[in-house]
Each structure stands twice: as C-alpha cells, then as structure tokens.
C-alpha cells in the first residue's frame, strides 16, 4: 500500500516548500532587522556626505587660533574681521577635548555648546564612526562656521 512514487515526490516537495516557507516566515517575524540587513547584502551604503561649503559672499572668518598660527601677515580686511570678532570665552579646561572619545556631558561643557548640540555631535560621531578632523563637525545643525572656529582650539580628534 501507499502512494505511487511520482505522487510521493510531488507531495514531499510541496511539504518541503511549505515547511521552508513557514520557517522563514517565523524567522523574519522574530528578527526583522536581521532579515532586512540580509536582503541588502549586495547593496552599497551611500557614501559619507561632504559637508556643504558656505557660499563666500562676505570675506571668510578666521579663528583667532589660526590667525596666530599662520606665519604670513594677513591683508588688512581680514585683520579687521578678526578685531570685530568677540573674544572666545575662556576655556573650562586648558587641554583640548578629544571629540572621538568625549561623552555628551564633556562636550556640553565646551564654550558655546549646549546639551542638545552636544547630543547631535555625538550622534554624528556614531553615524560616521569617528571624526578625522574637527572640520567634520561642519554641517551639524546649530554649529555654524563662527562657532566652529571658536571651538577649534578647544577640541582635538584622537584615534
């Protein structure tokens, strides 16, 4: 007794398909994120964005630290621009802060940075992995060129 061979093959095949389907269904429901990632195995992530360069309508603003470091004398308009700038607030800590390892609280203690901006900086760090230069901060919401220039002498980037 029993099914003939071709029917057996067909029914077994159907059972195998149903079993696979139910198994995969269960797994996809349990691990939706892993399933999505698995389906994207041959996809490429978009490249990291290059921060937008502000349109140079006015003359560029130089940070005090950079002006002191630069050897050649600056032309007159740039000197004026520097004098017009408010002096940077005194740093809370004389050593520069390592942006790649600092916590949100540490970053929030930097001059001109509040807790929400510090949070965004850390978010950005998590997104790009690590900053390879303080310039990578450019483009973060709430961190304009002026504030970035003021920040530069207080921060550094470590490995």
């Amino acid at each position: 007794m029993g099914y003939p061979r071709p029917q057996l093959t067909l029914l077994l095949l159907l059972a195998a398909i149903a079993l696979t389907g139910l198994g995969v269904r269960e797994w996809r429901a349990g691990f939706p994120v892993a399933a999505e990632r698995l389906d994207r195995f041959d996809r490429e992530d978009p490249p990291p964005p290059i921060p937008p360069v502000p349109r140079p309508r006015a003359l560029p603003r130089w940070s005090p630290a950079r002006v002191e470091a630069a050897a050649p004398p600056r032309p007159a308009p740039r000197e004026r621009a520097r004098e017009a700038k408010p002096a940077a607030p005194a740093p809370a800590d004389p050593r520069p802060l390592d942006l790649n390892h600092a916590s949100v609280e540490q970053i929030a203690r930097l001059p001109g940075v509040g807790p929400s901006l510090a949070r965004r900086i850390v978010d950005e760090r998590e997104r790009v992995g690590r900053f390879d230069s303080p310039d990578r901060l450019r483009g973060i919401l709430g961190l304009g060129p002026k504030k970035l220039a003021a920040l530069r002498e207080h921060v550094t980037v470590g490995e």
């Binding site: 696979t20 995969v24 389906d39 994207r40 195995f41 996809r43 490429e44 978009p46 490249p47 560029p60």
Partner: protein, 794 residues
C-alpha cells in the same frame, strides 16, 4: 541544415537585409515598387521556364525589395506634432502610452500619444508620440490616462562623438520625433486612472510581491516574472550584467517555456486531453504577453511558443529554426524598426545560436566524455554566448567571460524561482496567507540566486570590454558559426571555418598591434553642458581632463559617452584623470570612468563639495595615486610637458574659496613639440587676472575657453595674453545659462581665434605631429589644417 527543413530562413534573412539597407536607399517608394513588379515578372517567367534556381534568387530579391519598402517611413500626417509650428513652451494634452517610468524620486519618464496642443486659448488637434521627462514629484498616473501638461518640446539631440549611440535614431524607430521636459507640478490628469486589464494585473503582481518580500528581492522577482526591472538597484543590475545573466531579468522564451510546461503539467495531471491543453496553454501565453508588454523578446517567444503549440494541435512536426524565421518575418512586418534594437538582435541571435549550435555541441561534449546532465546546459550556454557575442560587443562593448559558467548555476535557480513565483502569485489571488508561505519559501532561493550572481560578478576578469568589431569580423564570425555543425563532413567546410576564425582573430587583434602614427591627439568630447577632454600621446599615455555631467539626477555622461568612447579604443587604461574643480558638470561622469577603467594617477585641486560624494568615493576606491596640484608644478606625461598654472595655493584647502570654486580650477598648460594647449577649466575673470599678474605662461596655440564661454571668463586682457589661434568651447546645446555668450564670441573673434563649439561641431579632435595641426569637427566631418612650423609661416 537542408533548404527544405527551414524554408523561411533565407526569406527572413532577405527581408532583414532589405530593412537594414533601407537607411542608405534614397529612391522613392514607387520606383522600388516598379522594380519589385519587374522582379516578380522575371521570377514568374523563370518559374514558367523551369529555372527554379533563378526563380528562387528572384524571390529572395523580391523579399529584399519588400523589406526596403516596408522600412521606408510613411510621410507624417499633416497634423503630426513634428510638422506643427509652436513656441518654445507649449501646453499639450494626450494619453499615456505606457506606465510612467520613475528613474528616481524626482525624475519620471512618460510616453504620451498627443491629441491636443493648446495655443493660447484654442485647442488644436495634433497627433504623434512624444517622450517627456518630468522633474519633481510626479502625481500617480497610469497607462491609458489622459493628461495635460506644460512642456518645452524639441527634437532629441545626440552627443556627437566617435562611436556614439545614435539616440535620435533610436527614438525615431520608436516613432518619437520630439522629446519634452517639464515640471511635474504642471501635470494635470484629465481622466481617472482606469487602466486596461493587463496593466492592472501587472500592477497587482508588482505590489503583491513587494508586500511579501524585502525590497531588493521583490525587485528581482519582478524582473524574473514580468521583466519589470525599474525597481532593481543599479549595483544589482550591474552585477547581473557582469555575470552575463542579465537575460533572466527579461521576459523571453525561458518564461514562456516555463509557463507553457506548467500549464501542460497541471492539465495533463488532471487528465485533460492534449489538444484542449494546447489551446489553454496558448491562451495563457497570449495573456502573459499582453501583461508583460510588447518587447521583441516577448513577442518572439510568444510567436514561437504558439507555433509549437499549433503544431501539437495539428499533429505536425515542428521545426524550431523555421518557427524562429517566421517570428522574424512577423515581427519585422509589424515593426521593421525593431531590427536595429539590441533587444531584438540579442533575442533572435541567442535563440538561433541555441537551435543551431547546441545539438552538435552536446554530442561533441558527450564525445569528450562529459556527463549528459552537464553537456546539454553547457552546449546551450556556449551556443547562446557565441551567437550574442558580436551583438554585445557592437552595442555595449561587453563580453562576459564568466557568463558561460554562471548561466549553468543561475538559470536552473531562476527556473525554480520563476515557477514558484508564478505559483505564489496565483495563490495570492485566493489566499494571502498561503501566498505568504510560498513567498517566504521563495525568499532564500532569491537570496541564493543573488549571492551566486554577486560572486560571479566579483571574479576578476568576469567581464571584459573590447572595441566594437568591424563588419568584416562579424561576417566572418557568422560564417564560422553557421558552418560549425558541419565541420566533420567536408574538407572545404573545415578550411572555410579555419580561415574565417583566423580573419576574426586578426581583425580583433590589429588595433592593439598597429604601430602608432607619432601624433598627439586631443579630443574635446561632446558631453552637453560640461567638459571632458582626452589627451592621447603618441607613446600611448592618456590623460582625461574632467568627466562631464553625471550623477543620479541626470543622464550620466560617464556611463553613456565616456565609457563607450574609451572602450572603443584598444587600451583600457588611463594614466591620469584630472579634475579641474568639483562642480557636477565636470566631476559627475568621472565616477563611471574611475570604477570602470584602471587609473594610475588622479590630479585634483584638493576641494570637494556636497554632491560629489560618489565621485570622491570612486577616487578613493580606484587605487589611483592622488596629487593635489598647485601652480608652478611641472609634470611629464610621455613626451608632453604639463605645467600647472592655477590654483596658486595661497588659499587654504579647508576654507571656502573667497572668489568661488571656479577660480580654484586647475589650469593646465600642455606643451608638445610646436603645439601648446591651455586648459582653463571654469576659470573666471578674477582667476585670469591673477594669472596675468603672476606672469604665468599663458600664451598658447589652442585654448579651451574658460567656463563654457561665460561672459565673466575670457576677458579681453587675458585673450590678448593667450593669443589663441584655435579656441574650443565645450558647451551644451540650448543650455539654460546662455553659454557661450555673444560677448565672449566677439572677444574671441577679435583675438583672431578660430572658434569650435561642441554643441554645433560635436566632438572636436585636434591631431598634430608637431608640424601641422588638423582639427576635425565630428558632427560634419570637416577637417581643417593649420601649419605650426614658424619657418614656413603660419
């Protein structure tokens, strides 16, 4: 093969020949018809006299003439949009001829069968089909819907470069004489979206697969089942191409055979009589063809499938080659323009190759002690590959070497996937739960298929790019393939095959071994609004300056223009790629160049801007040695000396340039024997002033006019210093900036320069041996010569 076995093959060949030659035949249709009547009379006479050979020749000549007459396009009706005069901006009304194709979120392509043109307040009746690109978010519209929209209409324009794809001719074959572009928010739907049932079925199938599977797998299944490829991400389709298995994403004989055999299997299991089964299977094929649309491969497969089913119904023996020839005849009679389409050629070449070559190859392989289960698929793969190789090389310069092996693995997986997918879709009409189980069972298979393709595409040398073969080489290859099955029978056949193969080999190798002609060549490619300049030195070094426009938002010139142009030359290597500045009309096309060609060095000005991420990543991945150049550097490239004149390095790279990106353009000066060329990128007035103030060596014989002929570049003082004899403006036709401006053209004329423009002249090619300079305008083919030798007086 004997004549009687496939009597339609010579007839189909003759008709195809007639259609192919019609482009060069200028005689009016009535004289051709007279010639046809004459041929008919003579053939009848020959037949009456019993000269059957002569009569056969006469019949074939008649077929050629009929092909020519069929292909000569009918005059346009008087109300055709191409014959109606209108202003630059028009409002039109019409019906969507197919579902919109969404290239990206804000770029959509529509095909519209026009019926009305709004001129002021009154609506004129017009006819004709146009292709429209809409920018912005297009509201949901579908096939068959009537819409009204505002457009800029113009004849399509091709980039006129050596070996370039003739886009207007392609559109003309599709019956499109005008293309339009407009903003998506001007689109107004005049009727509700009520598509015909095949469109409705297709939409339902696509949305059902997308509902059960993750995005990329759903897109792959859409390609397998329906040939719907728009959802597939570009890197995935690229992998399918590299692996030589892209054909499984098109609907072809593969799908048709699977569908017909599934119907047969089910119905015969249920005990339905054979003839009823054949009728049902035929109906299923026709319905399927209506749903997936009218590409050549679908029609070919459907016609052949119906013929085979018909033979079954009438208890006749079927001859595959004859069925194929009939499919050619029917398709060409209906749409003669398809003959030039790659899809048509690939489909018919592959089928003919399989029918003609697979049986002898199988027996040959089995003779070599291959197991039967491997020999048959291998022979099919080899036969198809051998037949499509010339087609792939002519249209795409591609030859997938891994394809022969990859097909052995991928095609069976695709067959199972397609069958299971069809089953799942049918189930979805009944029960969503049961369909979901089937789709989930299908998912690992789709992943495995993608993984196999991904691995095959990663194999080094999976695909090679070669110059398009000459006609002689293609003809020799066809002769060799046609005679291959009869290799053992006669000695002269063996000799002919050997001679043909030697000819193919010799013609293909010649460009590599041909001696150089000792000339420097500079090609200013026509890339629309943008720059792309290739410098080739007699010693073989090659420098590409800029890559034209590109990116996701627009036509990628790197893919469409630069890559084919470079592939059609024997070397696939670029010694240097230089990017004058990162604006997208200079950097966009470089992504494709850097990923597809070996690049030794990348010269840049060190500045990158938002929007060039893809290009920057391509630079980083290419492994090219990067050099940030500043004024004063001198670099030898073969026997040519390149001098960097700009930027001068006084403005730090991490700060925005004070006068804008253009003034930071790399300016390169090339000197070779008596020839000098100044490439100024997009340099404007302030930069030119700086060069003059620095006493940079700007005097040059040929000048690439700065910033596409913008009025803020090429100041009088600068041109006085350069004193160019030849000025080349790289500019797009009808560009929105108004380049080149009349001011600049006037200043160039005042400076005594001959002006060449890529928008009018196509590619401009300067070629020199150091004594004379010849300048070719590619569009018109005119060549002018200049004497460079000061002794002889210019």
């Amino acid at each position: 093969m004997r004549w009687l076995e496939a009597p339609l093959v010579p007839l189909a060949g003759a008709t195809a020949l007639g259609i192919a030659t019609s482009a060069w035949i200028a005689t009016p249709a009535w004289s051709l018809l007279c010639a046809g009547a004459l041929a008919l009379g003579l053939t009848s006479l020959a037949l009456a006299l019993g000269a059957t050979r002569l009569a056969t020749a006469g019949l074939l000549l008649l077929a050629v003439l009929l092909g020519v007459v069929r292909a000569i396009s009918d005059p346009l009706p008087a109300d055709h949009i191409a014959r109606v005069a209108f202003g630059p901006r028009v409002s039109v009304e019409g019906r969507l001829a197919e579902e919109p194709v969404r290239w990206s979120a804000d770029r959509t392509r529509l095909l519209i069968d026009l019926d009305g043109l709004r001129d002021g307040l009154d609506l004129r009746t017009v006819s004709g089909r146009i292709q429209v690109t809409l920018y912005g978010e297009t509201p949901p519209v579908g096939e068959g819907q009537r819409v009204a929209l505002d457009l800029k209409l113009s004849p399509p324009r091709a980039f006129k470069n050596p070996g370039a794809f003739d886009y207007p001719a392609f559109l003309r074959r599709e019956g499109i004489l005008l293309v339009g572009s407009g903003r998506a928010d001007s689109l107004v739907a005049l009727t509700a979206d009520d598509p015909p049932w095949p469109v409705w079925v297709k939409r339902w199938a696509v949305s059902t697969t997308a509902g059960h599977l993750p995005a990329t797998s759903a897109a792959l299944l859409g390609g397998l089942l329906l040939g719907e490829k728009t959802g597939l991400p570009p890197e995935a389709s690229e992998a399918f191409r590299r692996a030589g298995v892209y054909h499984i994403l098109a609907v072809s004989g593969f799908n048709v055979a699977l569908l017909a055999s599934s119907v047969f299997f089910v119905l015969s299991t249920l005990g339905v009589p054979r003839r009823v089964t054949a009728v049902v299977a035929g109906a299923a094929l026709v319905g399927f063809a209506l749903v997936v649309g009218g590409q050549a491969s679908v029609l070919r497969a459907t016609v052949m499938g119906l013929l085979l089913l018909g033979a079954l119904l009438l208890d006749r023996e079927s001859q595959l080659m004859n069925a194929l020839a009939l499919a050619v005849l029917l398709l060409l009679a209906w749409r003669p323009g398809d003959l030039g389409e790659p899809g048509f050629q690939l489909s018919f070449a592959a089928t003919a190759g399989i029918i003609h070559l697979a049986p002898p190859l199988t027996s040959w392989l089995i003779g070599k002690r291959w197991p039967g289960w491997l020999a048959a698929p291998m022979a099919v793969s080899l036969g198809a590959q051998a037949a499509v190789t010339p087609v792939m090389l002519v249209h795409f310069n591609q030859l997938s070497l891994i394809g022969i092996v990859a097909n052995l693995v991928v095609v069976p997986m695709a067959a199972v996937g397609t069958t299971l997918g069809m089953l799942a879709l049918l189930t979805a009409a009944v029960s969503a739960w049961a369909a979901d189980v089937l789709f989930q069972a299908l998912w690992p298979l789709l992943l495995a298929l993608r993984a196999a393709v991904w691995v095959a595409a990663r194999v080094p040398g999976a695909m090679v790019h070669l110059p398009a073969p000459s006609w002689a080489a293609i003809a020799a290859w066809c002769v060799a393939l046609a005679l291959l099955p009869y290799l053992g029978s006669r000695r002269w056949i063996r000799a002919t095959v050997m001679v043909s193969l030697a000819l193919v080999l010799g013609l293909s190798i010649w460009p590599w071994v041909a001696p150089d002609n000792g000339r420097l060549r500079v090609t200013f490619l026509d890339v629309g609004q943008g720059d792309a300049i290739l410098v080739e030195l007699p010693e073989g070094q090659r420098l590409l300056v800029d890559g034209g426009p590109g990116g996701n938002q627009r036509l990628d010139v790197g893919e469409r223009v630069l890559a084919p142009f470079l592939w059609n030359r024997p070397t696939q290597r670029l010694d240097v790629v230089a990017l004058t500045h990162p604006d997208s009309d200079h950097s966009g096309g470089l992504r494709a160049v850097l990923t597809r060609f070996g690049v030794r060095e990348f010269w840049e000005n060190g500045r990158w801007i938002t929007g060039t991420e893809e290009t920057l990543r391509a630079v980083e991945r290419s492994g090219a040695c990067r050099r940030t150049l500043v004024a004063g550097q001198r670099l030898w490239l073969g026997s040519a000396l390149l001098t960097v004149l700009n930027p001068d390095g006084s403005r730090p790279l991490d700060d925005p340039p004070p006068e804008g990106q253009n003034e930071e353009s790399l300016v390169l000066r090339l000197d070779w024997r008596g020839f000098s060329l100044l490439l100024t990128g997009d340099l404007g007035g302030p930069g030119e002033e700086r060069l003059l103030a620095d006493h940079a060596p700007v005097r040059a014989l040929a000048l690439k006019v700065g910033h596409h002929g913008s009025r803020y570049s090429s100041t009088g003082a600068f041109l006085d210093a350069v004193e160019p004899a030849v000025a080349i403006i790289s500019v797009g036709a009808r560009n929105s900036f108004g380049h080149p401006t009349p001011e600049v053209l006037g200043r160039l004329e005042a400076a005594g320069a001959r002006i060449y423009r890529t928008d009018r002249d196509g590619a401009v090619i300067l070629e020199t041996d150091g004594i004379t300079l010849s300048i070719t305008r590619w569009a018109s083919g005119t060549v002018e010569r200049l004497d460079l030798d000061p002794e002889r007086g210019a």
